[in-house]
Subunit: 102 residues, 2 copies
Amino acid sequence: MYVSVSRLRVEPDHSAELIDAFRSRAHLVEAFDGVEGIEVWQSSTDPSEVLMVSHWRDRAAFSAYMESREHRLSHDRIDHALAETIVLERLEHLTGYEVVAR
Amino acid sequence: MYVSVSRLRVEPDHSAELIDAFRSRAHLVEAFDGVEGIEVWQSSTDPSEVLMVSHWRDRAAFSAYMESREHRLSHDRIDHALAETIVLERLEHLTGYEVVAR
């Protein structure tokens, strides 16, 4: 199993907006082959740190999603003003992990 | 829901040993009130980065476990030589997150 972690840095008021946007998302990714769960984590000590964490069958499934129409559509649905804020404020960092034990 | 992330930095050969030790653990934590899953992640790009990720009902459940006999017993079971290696090599960093959306 593969985990993708995308680390966003957003101002506290915008992080609430970002979380709301995620909660009302179209859930296109959940229908994609190989996805096993998506969560949004907010740091207990620093609300500006928000992580998007997704579990996949393997790295190939994640890569296929990243190149898919569904991924593009998900991003197109984000409110334009919010997207610009995130882009301006974020220090995005995408990391991948293998789940080696559970 | 609360997530605890413990980041360990171990030499590649010792990371395999650490993962084996986790796989053969006593599973004491799984019986603890409030735990909802434990995973070990190994970075795809840097095998020396190993994360222990655990999900909890809430932060209070995690705190109760950290102070428990079960937690102490789990650590006492780790091979002494391995434990010393991890202690010497690690740059441990413990962070907590609220799961704000799924």
